[in-house]
C-alpha cells in the first residue's frame, strides 16, 4: 500500500456566480521514501494540490470530492483536530518564500520549539536541543545562537535552511515542498536543493516537490506528474517522461527548454496560453493549443492510457499506441 494515495481529488473555489474548479479528479500516489515531482505552469493547480493534502487551501477554496489516503486514513474527511496531529508531525510542508513564512516578531527558537511541543510532551530544554541538532543537520553555523535570533537577521538561504530544519524536526514521513528555491538567489538554489535531497535520502523521507523547473525535477525526482489546467495529463517515471514525453504539452515544455534549442535559433514556445479557471474549454483543456486536436478532443476529456510505464491523457497518444499495436500484430 502506498504511503499517500490521492484518489479523484476535486478542489473548487466558491466565488460569486458559481464555483470554479481548480482541480478535477486528480489521482496519484507516493511511496515511502519516494521522490515525486509536480510540474506545471503557474495556475495549473500544483500549489493547490500541495496545499489540499493537509487541507490548507486558502478560502474560498474547498475540497469538493475525492479521497486523500494517508496510511489508509482519509485526510479529506478528517476533522481539524485530527489533521492538526498530522500537520508538521507526519507530513511537513516547506513554503516558497522563507521571509514570508517565518513570523517576523518571533525568534527562530520560539518557532522551532513550538513546532515540537505541539506534538510531543517534552521540556523546552529538550526541544531546544532537538532544534539545535536539526539546525546543525542543515549546515547552519552556530546553531545555538540562531535560536535567539529573529528571521530578518538571517540571509535568505539560511532562512530556507531553517524551514527545512523545521520540516525535519519531528521526523515526518512526507515533506511537501512548494517551490522551495524559487524565491532564493540563483547562486544558492542548487545548494539548497542538494541539501534537501540529501536529507530526504538520509532519513528516507518521501518528498513531493512542486516546481515549474523541469531541470530540477529531472535531477531530483524518481517519478513526476505534469499538470495542466487542474488535471494531470502525464504521470510516470521521470527518466521516461523527460527522455520521451508523450503528451503534446509535455513535449512542448521540454522543447521550450533553452538547452533543447540550437544556438542562434529561435527558442520554441507553445502557442497560446493556459486558460484561466473561468474559461476552461470543453473536452481536453489543452485542445485550443494542440496541433493534433480533433473533434473528440474538443468534446470529451480523454482517459489515461499507458505508454510504457507512463500514464497519459491524450487521444492522439491513444491513437498512436493503437497504431503501433496493429503494426506489431501485422509484422511477425
Amino acid at each position: 500500500m502506498a504511503l499517500l494515495e490521492v484518489k479523484n481529488l476535486d478542489v473548487r473555489f466558491a466565488v460569486r456566480g458559481g464555483d470554479l474548479t481548480a482541480l478535477r479528479g486528480i489521482s496519484f500516489s507516493l511511496d515511502k521514501g519516494e521522490r515525486l515531482g509536480l510540474v506545471g505552469e503557474s495556475g495549473a493547480g500544483k500549489s493547490v494540490a500541495a496545499f489540499s493534502i493537509l487541507n490548507l487551501i486558502a478560502q474560498p477554496g474547498y475540497i469538493a470530492g475525492g479521497q486523500i489516503l494517508f496510511e489508509g486514513k482519509d485526510l479529506a474527511a478528517m476533522s481539524e483536530r485530527e489533521l492538526r496531529k498530522i500537520r508538521g508531525n507526519r507530513i511537513a510542508m516547506i513554503f516558497q518564500d522563507p521571509m514570508m513564512t517565518l513570523n517576523p516578531v518571533l525568534t527562530i527558537g520560539t518557532q522551532m520549539v513550538e513546532a515540537i511541543k505541539a506534538h510531543r510532551r517534552i521540556s523546552t530544554k529538550d526541544a531546544r536541543a532537538i532544534a539545535v541538532d536539526k539546525l546543525r543537520k542543515v549546515q547552519i553555523p552556530s546553531p545555538e545562537k540562531r535560536l535567539d535570533q529573529y528571521p530578518h537577521e538571517l540571509s535568505g538561504g539560511m532562512r530556507q535552511r531553517v524551514i527545512i530544519a523545521i520540516a525535519l524536526l519531528l521526523d515526518p514521513e512526507i515533506i511537501i515542498a512548494d517551490e522551495p528555491t524559487t524565491a532564493l538567489d540563483v547562486t544558492i538554489q542548487a545548494e539548497i536543493m542538494a541539501l534537501l535531497l540529501d536529507l530526504c535520502e538520509q532519513e528516507n523521507v518521501a518528498l513531493m516537490l512542486i516546481t515549474h523547473d523541469l531541470g530540477v525535477v529531472s535531477q531530483v525526482s524518481q517519478r513526476m506528474l505534469v499538470m495542466y489546467s487542474g488535471r494531470i495529463i502525464e504521470q510516470g517515471p521521470t527518466r521516461e517522461i523527460i527522455n520521451d514525453a508523450q503528451h503534446p504539452y509535455t513535449q512542448g515544455l521540454i522543447n521550450a527548454l533553452p538547452q533543447m534549442g540550437e544556438p542562434g535559433a529561435r527558442l520554441f514556445q507553445i502557442p497560446g496560453a493556459m486558460p484561466s479557471l473561468k474559461n476552461v474549454p470543453a473536452g481536453c483543456p489543452f485542445n485550443p493549443r494542440c496541433s493534433f486536436a480533433t473533434d473528440e478532443c474538443r468534446s470529451t476529456m480523454p482517459d489515461y492510457v499507458r505508454a510504457g510505464n507512463v500514464d497519459v491523457a491524450c487521444y492522439e497518444v491513444e491513437r498512436l499506441i493503437a497504431q503501433e499495436q496493429q503494426a506489431r500484430e501485422v509484422a511477425p
Binding site: L54, L56, A58, E80, R84, K85, I86, R87, G88, N89, A92, M93, F95, D97, M100, T101, L102, N103, P104, V105, L106, T107, E114, A115, A118, H119, Y150, H152, E153, I166
Partner: protein
C-alpha cells in the same frame, strides 16, 4: 538605544521650544498683568514706571528668555482667578483628569482586544456584525452627546410608555426598556481618598467609583469603536499572511496561532495608532469634563478661557505640550522595544 534616546530628546526640546514661543506670544499678546494688578485710578506715569519695574518694556526676546527661564524653574506665573501659582492650580486639577483617563483606558483595553480579535476570527458571526455596526454608529456620535445620552439613561432615568401597558408583553417591554437612573452625573463626589500630594483618588471608595462610572464610560465610548475597528482590520490582514498559514501547517493550535502569532503582529500598528489617539483623548477629556462638571484639567482650562485667566491658559498649554511630547516619546520607545525588526537607532533593520 542611546542614539535613539538622544535623538528623541533633542526633538522633544525643539517642540517644547516652539510651544513655549507660541505660549509666550499668546501671553504677550493677550495678557496685561498691569490691568489685573492696578485699578483705573493709577496715573499714566505711575503705570509706565510700574511697567519698567516689571520689565514689561524690555525688548521682546529679553522678555521671552525671562519667561522661558522661569518656566524651566517651575514658575509659570500666577493665576489671575485663583491667585495661586498656575502650576499649583494645575497640580490640584491633574489627578482628577488622570483618574478619568486611567479608567477610560482600562475599559478600552479590556474590551477592545477581545471584541476586535473575535470580529476578526469570525467575521460572519452575528456578534461580530453587531459590534461592527455599533462601532460605525459609535464613531459618528461625538463624545459629549454620548455623555448626555448616558446621563439621560443612567442618571435621570427613562420611562418608556410606548408599548401598550395593559398587555403583558407591552408592560414587560416598557419595564425592560425603562431605566431608573441613579448614577451620579456631577463631579467626583464627597468620598475621595487622599493618596499623596494633591492626589485625591476616587478609586478607593464606593461613592468615588460610582462617580467615575459615567464619565469613564463616556470617554471610552468614543475610543472603543476606533480600537475595535482597528484591531479587527489589522488582524484580518495578518490572518491572510503566509506565516499564519505556515503556522497551521506546523500543526499549531488555533489558540496559539491567533493569540500569539497573529496578535503580536496586530498589536504593533495598534500601538502606533494608539499613541496618536492619546492626543485626541486629551481633547475629549475637555469635553467630557464639561458635561460632568468633572473638576479636572479640561474644565479648569475652559473656565480659564471664560475668565480670560491668561497665565493659567498659557501654563496649561505648556504642560499639555510637555505631556504630549513625553507620551509620544514613550510610545515610540515601547514600539521600538516590542518590534524586533526596528533597531532603536530609529532606522529599520
Amino acid at each position: 538605544m542611546l542614539a535613539f534616546l538622544v535623538q528623541r530628546i533633542s526633538q522633544a526640546f525643539l517642540v517644547m521650544f516652539v510651544i513655549s514661543m507660541i505660549a509666550f506670544a499668546i501671553q504677550d499678546g493677550l495678557g496685561d498683568p498691569l490691568q489685573e494688578l492696578v485699578g483705573m485710578s493709577v496715573s499714566l506715569e505711575e503705570r509706565d514706571a510700574l511697567r519698567d519695574e516689571m520689565g514689561l518694556n524690555d525688548p521682546i526676546y529679553v522678555q521671552y528668555v525671562r519667561f522661558a527661564g522661569n518656566a524651566l524653574q517651575g514658575d509659570l506665573g500666577i493665576s489671575y482667578f485663583y491667585g495661586k501659582p498656575t502650576l499649583q492650580v494645575i497640580a490640584e486639577h491633574l489627578p482628577a483628569t488622570l483618574e478619568l483617563v486611567i479608567g477610560a483606558s482600562l475599559i478600552i483595553m479590556v474590551f477592545s482586544v477581545p471584541i476586535g480579535v473575535y470580529a476578526a476570527i469570525r467575521p460572519q458571526a452575528f456578534l461580530s456584525k453587531f459590534f461592527m455596526g455599533i462601532s460605525t454608529v459609535g464613531i459618528s456620535i461625538p463624545v459629549f452627546l454620548t455623555a448626555i445620552m448616558l446621563i439621560q439613561l443612567f442618571s435621570i432615568g427613562v420611562t418608556i410608555e410606548v408599548f401598550p401597558a395593559d398587555t403583558g408583553w407591552g408592560a414587560w417591554l416598557n419595564g425592560a426598556l425603562s431605566t431608573d437612573g441613579g448614577l451620579p452625573s456631577y463631579g467626583r463626589g464627597d468620598e475621595l481618598t487622599h493618596l499623596f500630594g494633591t492626589w485625591n483618588s476616587g478609586f478607593f471608595s464606593w461613592n468615588g467609583l460610582l462617580h467615575l462610572v459615567l464619565p469613564c464610560v463616556s470617554l471610552a465610548s468614543i475610543m472603543l469603536p476606533l480600537f475595535i475597528r482597528l484591531i479587527r482590520a489589522e488582524m484580518m490582514e495578518v490572518l491572510q499572511s503566509d506565516y499564519i498559514r505556515y503556522a497551521r501547517a506546523k500543526g499549531l493550535s488555533s489558540g496559539r496561532i491567533n493569540f500569539l502569532h497573529a496578535l503580536k503582529n496586530t498589536m504593533l500598528p495598534v500601538i502606533t495608532v494608539g499613541g496618536v489617539q492619546l492626543g485626541i483623548m486629551v481633547a475629549y477629556t475637555i469635553l467630557t469634563e464639561t458635561v460632568f462638571q468633572w473638576p479636572g484639567m479640561g474644565l479648569m482650562f475652559l473656565e480659564a478661557i471664560t475668565r480670560s485667566d491668561i497665565p493659567l491658559i498659557v501654563a496649561y498649554l505648556m504642560v499639555v505640550g510637555l505631556v504630549f511630547v513625553i507620551t509620544n516619546t514613550i510610545v515610540d520607545l515601547i514600539y521600538g522595544l516590542v518590534n524586533p525588526t526596528v533597531k532603536l537607532t530609529g532606522k529599520k533593520a
